[in-house]
């Protein structure tokens, strides 16, 4: 029976897994591109840090189903479900990356930053040679949290028709078929675990000895 189920749904599960991955990867790309530079900028203008972090925090507390609902009627976004999904997932991924980038740079030993200045490193050299390498493990930990969150929330994207593994879950719930629910939930959980492990590995490699 199980083999029959897999024969029937196997290719669909594969397609939806790839779709799921794609949504998550696109969102992580945008979130990283926004949140890492923003986190760096906050360390240069620390008085803006509390309000900006508060906004990112609020974004994160919006229930995901409501977030997808809010975005649905928007002009350009509402036309394609994948756009809605990517924007919503990006919003959820911002906070962990932003907060960890900011904290990672702020937590660097002040003596090290002082010396970097006093030796005559330019702002760019200080950032790329000292601050980012030292903050890298924490930034990566933020990316890891954000990725796992995104993989989970991406299942809800099916509610607005964006596809992904959530589609199997919603269909399973509607037809009271637990096999379908599991066919969506198990690959989603495995994706989250795999992403967590992979990024954890990179994070450990980046950790500087001290």
């Amino acid at each position: 029976m199980t083999s029959g189920f897999l024969q029937q749904y196997g290719s669909q599960i594969a397609t939806l897994t790839i779709e799921h991955l794609w949504l998550t990867a696109a969102a992580m790309f945008f979130a990283t591109a926004i949140a890492v530079p923003a986190g760096i900028a906050l360390t240069r203008a620390p008085r803006y840090a509390p309000p900006v972090l508060a906004v990112a925090n609020i974004l994160q507390t919006i229930p995901s189903l409501a977030m997808f609902g809010f975005l649905l009627p928007l002009p350009w976004l509402g036309e394609r479900a994948a756009r809605i999904a990517i924007v919503a997932l990006t919003a959820y991924a911002l906070l962990p990356i932003l907060r960890n980038t900011w904290a990672g740079i702020r937590n660097i030993d002040p003596a090290v930053v002082e010396v970097a200045l006093a030796l005559g490193l330019t702002g760019r050299q200080r950032l790329f040679k000292v601050e980012l390498p030292l903050a890298a493990p924490l930034i990566l930990a933020g990316l890891r949290t954000a990725t796992v969150t995104c993989v989970g929330i991406a299942t809800i994207a099916a509610a607005v028709g964006a596809g992904g593994l959530g589609e199997l879950i919603f269909r399973g719930v509607a037809s009271v078929d637990n096999r379908l629910v599991l066919a969506g939930a198990i690959p989603a959980a495995l994706l989250a675990l795999a992403a967590d492990q992979l990024l954890g590995l990179v994070e450990r490699r980046l950790r500087t000895p001290r």
Binding site: A111, V115, A118, G120, L134, P209
Partner: protein, 261 residues
């Protein structure tokens, strides 16, 4: 000969408006070691930091080799001045070798030149490059870290070296070793050194000139010999505060001496 550093009626205020330095006028002789002595909060570190513009003057001027630092590009100014602080401030993610050669690195010197320079300087501070070059700062003792910090400050071949209580966190024996090594290095490199310390013994041992600050004001600028003979109340109280244990022990005969016939 123009002074290596000249402070002209220099005042510095903290961001909250407190006066940290109050009208300091002082010339620092080139090629000499000048110790800046004073209690905690006397402004000695701030005075040092105005030279490489880590602290900014609120009034008056600081001249380095006759040029007003305020008109100079901070990056260029700082690269030409060695800087050593108490905690060494080594980059934890760089090897010892890369830490030493960081200034040549940011100036874009070729790699082979940087490595050769780094190894020369490690040898100069008595750290065997074969043993220490590839280590990370956390694998070194406090004294070794400070040696690396000193080598790094010398890497750009600066003619001015700023040292802020460089040996303050070390045990007395390590500190004495470091002071001996520094004396040897200075004899060889002929740097102008500004050394902030609150250790009178260190100032007397290393400096050609001793400057005493008190509450942001310049009290005296004297040679070590003149300093010890000075009758200024603030100098005398500073001298009295040192070697008290020695004097106290010296007034009491030890048990062995007392028991001897």
């Amino acid at each position: 000969m123009p002074a290596a550093v000249e402070f002209r009626d220099l005042s510095v205020r903290s961001p909250d408006g407190r006066l940290i330095l109050d009208g300091i006028s002082l010339s620092i002789e080139a090629g000499a070691t000048t110790a800046i002595l004073g209690r905690s909060g006397s402004g000695k570190t701030t005075l040092l930091r105005t030279v490489n513009r880590m602290a900014e003057a609120s009034a008056g001027q600081v001249l380095v080799h006759g040029r007003n630092v305020q008109t100079m590009d901070t990056v260029a100014l700082r690269r030409g001045i060695g800087y050593v602080i108490q905690e060494a401030g080594l980059f934890p993610h760089f090897t010892v070798e890369r830490n030493v050669a960081i200034v040549p690195e940011i100036e874009g010197r070729p790699r082979a030149e940087r490595l050769a320079r780094s190894r020369d300087l490690l040898a100069a501070v008595d750290l065997d490059p074969a043993v220490y070059a590839m280590r990370y700062p956390h694998q070194l003792s406090g004294g070794q870290r400070q040696r690396v910090g000193l080598a790094r400050a010398l890497a750009a071949d600066p003619d001015l070296l700023l040292m802020d209580e460089p040996f303050g966190a070390l045990d007395p024996i390590t500190r004495a070793e470091m002071q001996d090594m520094l004396r040897g290095l200075l004899a060889r490199f002929r740097e102008t050194v500004l050394l902030v310390t609150h250790d009178l013994d260190e100032a007397l041992y290393l400096a050609d000139r001793i400057v005493l600050l008190s509450a942001g004001r310049l009290v005296v600028s004297l040679s070590p010999r003149e300093f010890l003979a000075s009758t200024y109340a603030e100098v005398e109280s500073y001298i009295r505060a040192f070697h008290r244990g020695e004097r106290a022990a010296g007034t009491r005969p030890s048990a062995q001496e007392a028991g001897a016939p």
